[in-house]
Amino acid sequence: MHIIDRYAYSNAIRELDPAQKGGLALIAMLFCLALDHPAVGLLTLVWMFALATLWAQVPARAFGRALLAEAPFLLLSLVGVALSVSLAPLVSPALQLGPFWIGSSAESLALATRLFTRALGCAAALNFLILTTPLLDLIELLRRLRVPETLIDLMSLTYRAIFVLLESLQRMATAQDARLGYAGPWRALRSAGLLGSQLFLDAYRRSQRLQMALESRGLAGPLRVLPLDYRRDRRARWFGAALAASLLLAGAWR
């Protein structure tokens, strides 16, 4: 998690208007989903990788690791799509396991390939967005898109509190670990339970202290923060146009 957040703040296009980066990712995702073609998915992956590493200067390893986060889900569910299980003998090449027949067919393999490339392309687009845009900028983008104010408030509060709570979680876990709190599974569960309850108390008391501090400074209504000054880059528009055109071409090519 810290990796993604770190590059979101330190990449070369961090100051770019989040609408431009979000627009690029959105184009990639929509074309990937709508055209649903292996070549489009792979081309999106290449595009997003290139934009993230060459334009935003995010290291290739960070991009790869973010993409790998979904590998278990992707591989397992692809197995589910590619294989059929049935009680009746299957015509296509199949394997008999007790009363079950496990088999596959050309269509389901083709579907699995399409899904694999589509999911990879879309995930790459998402990763490009989150590796180049800090979460506060994305929340600002949502605010511009007229997402209800309460939701924006809750999201920015949550984001700010996550790192504070995570730090206190890690400190408590280290203290427990130093006292052999995680020796053996049962003791580890007990420690995790204590940790969870203390974390809740910490969160609760923090919210009360924050409330008191803000009230004494006259808080009434939502927490307003000034938006940052963003840079707009003309290249983003060219990238968007080239991306859309190349994806359309790849989709037309059969």
Partner: protein
């Protein structure tokens, strides 16, 4: 020809088994970005929308009545997110992450949870690259709507009828399990089996993910009982104050 294909199938099945038993901590099951076709992605957004509206309305009302709810819920969202980063030992020996939906529902109520759970899911997509934006509707329906409703039903239904620890355990474990069953159904609806249709596909996805998800739900149940017991000992006043957030 046929023999070679069979060998490939064996390799595929073997790889799947290896992957399932791999020691990496198991996360709750979220459908990844781009995995649902456009129709189903939109469908689940439409289905979940009313729950978001109801939840947000309730939160707005709470904030008007008690202004401190705003900060409390912000911290509660962060708490649920951080809790899902907690590594707990799983019954099978490897470790896993809880979803926190069961505990969140018991503490904050199901309607508030539909909004908080969605924020947590969004943050998991944006900070951990886990889950996705186009699949947010589907994931929110399974984890932020069905999970909390199941937890709430069990928690309320068993109150005064069963020992508290049992109610907490069942609420948390079954909320987790319901989330996984709904996700399997969502996958099966989008990708029905070529021969057996929806039912065969549902069984297929259910079995594939059962190996990680069933132990996960049991350890989440145990963990939630432990957290709840500790809270009853150490945080009685806080728990009483939270009672006002709930309501059917």
């Amino acid at each position: 020809m046929n023999k070679r294909r069979k060998r490939w199938l064996l390799v595929a099945v073997g790889a799947m088994v290896l992957l399932v038993f791999e020691a990496r901590p198991a996360h709750a099951m979220h459908i990844m970005e781009g995995f649902l076709p456009p129709f189903w992605a939109a469908f689940w957004f439409v289905v979940t929308l009313p729950f978001w509206v109801i939840g947000l309305r309730r939160i707005n009302r709470l904030i008007v009545e008690k202004p401190e709810t705003r900060l409390l819920l912000g911290l509660a969202g962060a708490f649920t997110f951080v809790l899902s980063a907690l590594k707990i030992p799983s019954v099978t020996g490897s470790s896993s992450h809880p979803t926190g939906t069961g505990l969140g529902t018991i503490l904050f109520g199901p309607m508030v949870m539909s909004v908080l759970g969605t924020i947590v899911l969004l943050f998991q997509a944006l900070l951990l690259a886990h889950g996705g934006l186009t699949t947010l509707g589907a994931n929110a329906f399974s984890m932020a709507v069905v999970g909390p409703l199941v937890a709430w039903g069990i928690w309320k239904g068993l109150q005064d009828r069963a020992p508290i620890w049992l109610a907490v355990f069942l609420a948390a474990a079954l909320a987790n399990l319901a989330t996984y069953v709904v996700t399997s159904a969502q996958l099966a609806l989008a990708y029905p089996d070529a021969t057996g249709g929806f039912v065969a596909s549902f069984v297929k996805f259910g079995t594939i993910f059962a190996v990680t998800q069933i132990p996960l739900s049991i350890s989440e149940g145990i963990l939630t009982v432990l957290i709840f017991n500790a809270l009853q000992r150490n945080a009685e006043t806080e728990l009483q104050t939270l009672g006002v957030l709930k309501g059917a």
